[in-house]
Symmetry: C2
DNA sequence: ATAAGTTTGGTAAAATTTTAACAATTTACA
DNA sequence: TGTAAATTGTTAAAATTTTACCAAACTTAT
């Protein structure tokens, strides 16, 4: 069960996927027991931080022993909401939309692609892996009739805000946004951004100011 | 010039691209003057934080006036290393590699794609926008002969570490990594990650624990 | 069974990051 | 020209995040 108070800091939340990733690796390597000290070597976080992080959700470890990898993995998956299935759509079927649609690992993690939307008449009506490409006009109806949990926005910048507003109105709780804008959405709608150029620019900053580090 | 001490915190660095983005918008809208208070409304950062952030690099503002948008934009671009050109290659020309290669906005920002690499014999030798797809074997030679600054890794997980090691040995200073692993590289090589599934999992966490927020 | 070695969870301290406050300076306008 | 309003850069305070520490509890080996 765990405590799961609603005041987990974003710093902790951002580290959860990394724990998830390494625990999966350990399971695959048939390691069934791990201490915070060993996890520290793998993840680069301090052992103390790892214990603090995990304790936000419950006391999963045992003194003198450490953590049971399988149990902890399951707990983390549950905490992260990865035990459910999420219905998704992709809005904007350009290069990026196609790349995301073809990323099979998302399906494996429980993210089920239900629909694709675009404005290009040349591709509307086509099927991609059993999924139709619909006209953008049909989006609202589709969202309502298919219990969509996550809408993925991969349109050009100029359309993203309008689409986000429409998605929000249709009652979709989550948006995964790849457009390089900060979307304004009503309370209760959650936006997670993947700002590729921001990331690239951080890299260029770090390369340019590298002397500082050395 | 600015002070540009080498101890800028990553918290500050992560905010730089957002300043850059909004300053560009302002310029496009022909707004030539902005106060930290107004920037605060746009970015969602506090005015105080904005002044603190900018002051890490120099006193670009003027009391009673605010900041000159054009000047500040130029300064930020310079700080972020966006006044130079970076030669890049993409290693792994799958769906994601293709999406990145076709992202024209990177070219506009000074990131010049010089080569593509893959192991698939069916596509090796093909040209994409005047750029050849090379065999992976040729990578080291190419990197050395073409002054590559940034290698973009968009291979499957299993190959990423080996490729990162080879890239580092070839003297490339920056890696933009899309593979879902944490790469180990020698000192002096900078890795910036885009972990798509981590981002998606954060979204699923936030959706699943939404009640907490309300 | 006992003792020595591990390791957690919690508490306290340290470090970092954010916010608040304000003197100094400039702008804007009467 | 003079005065009120605006706004920065800087210093100090508050808040948050990370690290250090250690008693309690478990494991392992003898």
């Amino acid at each position: 069960m765990g405590k799961q108070q609603g005041n987990i800091s974003t710093a902790v939340i951002r580290r959860l996927p990394k724990y998830h990733r390494y625990l999966k690796d350990l399971l695959d390597r048939e390691v069934y027991r791990i201490s915070s000290k060993e996890l520290s070597v793998l993840t680069g976080f301090t052992a103390s931080q790892i214990r603090q992080d995990l304790n936000n959700f419950g006391g999963f470890g045992q003194q003198g022993y450490g953590y049971n990898v399988e149990e902890l993995y399951k707990e983390i998956r549950s905490i992260m909401g990865l035990t459910k299935t999420y219905n998704t759509v992709i809005v904007g079927y350009g290069n990026l939309g196609q790349a995301i649609a073809n990323y099979t690992s998302f399906e494996k993690s429980g993210f089920s692609l239900k629909g694709l939307f675009d404005t290009n008449p040349e591709i509307i009506g086509n099927k991609v892996k059993d999924i139709y490409i619909h006209a953008l006009d049909e989006m609202e109806n589709f969202l309502k009739n298919n219990q969509i949990d996550i809408a993925i926005i991969s349109t050009p910048k100029a359309y993203a805000q309008d689409i986000a507003t429409r998605i929000s109105k249709a009652g979709v709780p989550g948006i995964w946004n790849f457009a390089p804008v900060d979307l304004k959405v009503p309370e209760g709608v959650i936006v997670e951004n993947v700002h590729l150029s921001d990331s690239l620019f951080i890299l260029s900053y770090l390369i340019s100011n590298q002397e500082d580090v050395e």
